[in-house]
């Protein structure tokens, strides 16, 4: 499970460098994110722009990671691809997460 991290504009951006976050890798995703959350950044943005598919196990893992990050820090999402967006919409998890349409880029401020 490859996730690259980058500090940009006061936020830590964790970019998932995988095509799929599914039942096969959900546990490894959670473990890798647990390590990444050791970083004290107050804002954590999970960049999913390279993830083409996410199933209910992957979704459950993203929710679990948000809980691990909290309560004083919030996990935000960015760059949802169409299928991933559909899964968030169908499960109404799009109402729970802050979702940025674009992906934060280095030197571009806070990604809003």
């Amino acid at each position: 499970m490859q996730i690259s991290c980058e500090e940009t504009g006061g936020a830590m951006v964790a970019r998932v460098c995988e095509d799929r976050v599914d039942a096969a890798v959900a546990l490894r995703f959670k473990e890798r994110m647990r390590e990444i959350l050791q970083n004290p950044s107050e804002r954590i943005v999970l960049d999913l722009s390279q993830v083409g598919f996410l199933d209910s196990s992957g979704l459950g893992a993203v929710v679990a990671v948000m809980k691990l990050a909290g309560p004083e820090r919030r996990l935000e999402l960015a760059g949802l691809t169409p299928t991933v967006q559909k899964v968030f919409r169908l499960t109404r998890m799009d109402q729970v997460f802050t979702i940025h349409p674009g992906v934060p880029q280095a030197g571009r401020g806070d990604g809003h």
């Binding site: 039942a23 459950g60 559909k86 169908l90």
Partner: protein, 153 residues
């Protein structure tokens, strides 16, 4: 030799081992065209989402992670596709289709602890599929459902 009276099955048929990586490969290899019928993109996406949930449920709960065979058939119908998934694992609890009610979202002021981490799978299956039917036949589970573009959009 007697002629087989049953016409050859024209749809997609796969027999896979109940393993999450096999499920992944099967989904990645879903063709865009089945029995000469091109699947609309919305339908293809819905098929991938629903099959992921159905197949991973069998891997995790039906076979309890111990492996086994899953047979998958997909056939184009008038306005969509019909799927049949067969396995020899444990039947669905009480032999019935789960309700698939979305877990309640907690009051946000109560914090994140109450957020559900599971229970999404059957909700998505029910949201996207129609005519869902489960039968236990001679020790095998048969799950049938249809996907139609209007529901899948």
């Amino acid at each position: 030799m007697a002629t087989d009276p049953v016409p050859e099955f024209q749809g997609l048929r796969r027999v896979i081992t109940a393993d999450p990586f096999e499920v992944r490969r099967t989904l990645q290899e879903l063709p865009g065209t089945i029995a000469g019928v091109a699947l609309h993109e919305d339908l293809r996406v819905a098929l991938e989402i629903v099959l992921a949930e159905v197949l991973n449920n069998i891997v995790e709960h039906g076979y309890n992670g111990q492996g086994g065979d899953i047979e998958l058939s997909v056939l184009p119908i008038d306005c969509g596709v019909m799927c049949l998934v067969t396995d020899k694992g444990r039947p669905l609890p009480d032999g019935r289709l789960p309700e698939g009610r979305l877990p309640d979202l907690p009051d946000t002021t109560a914090g994140l602890d109450g957020l559900p981490e599971g229970g999404f799978g059957w909700h998505m299956i029910r949201a996207l599929a129609s005519d869902i039917r489960f039968d236990r036949v001679r020790g095998a589970n048969q799950l049938r459902f249809c996907l139609r573009p209007e529901a899948a959009a």
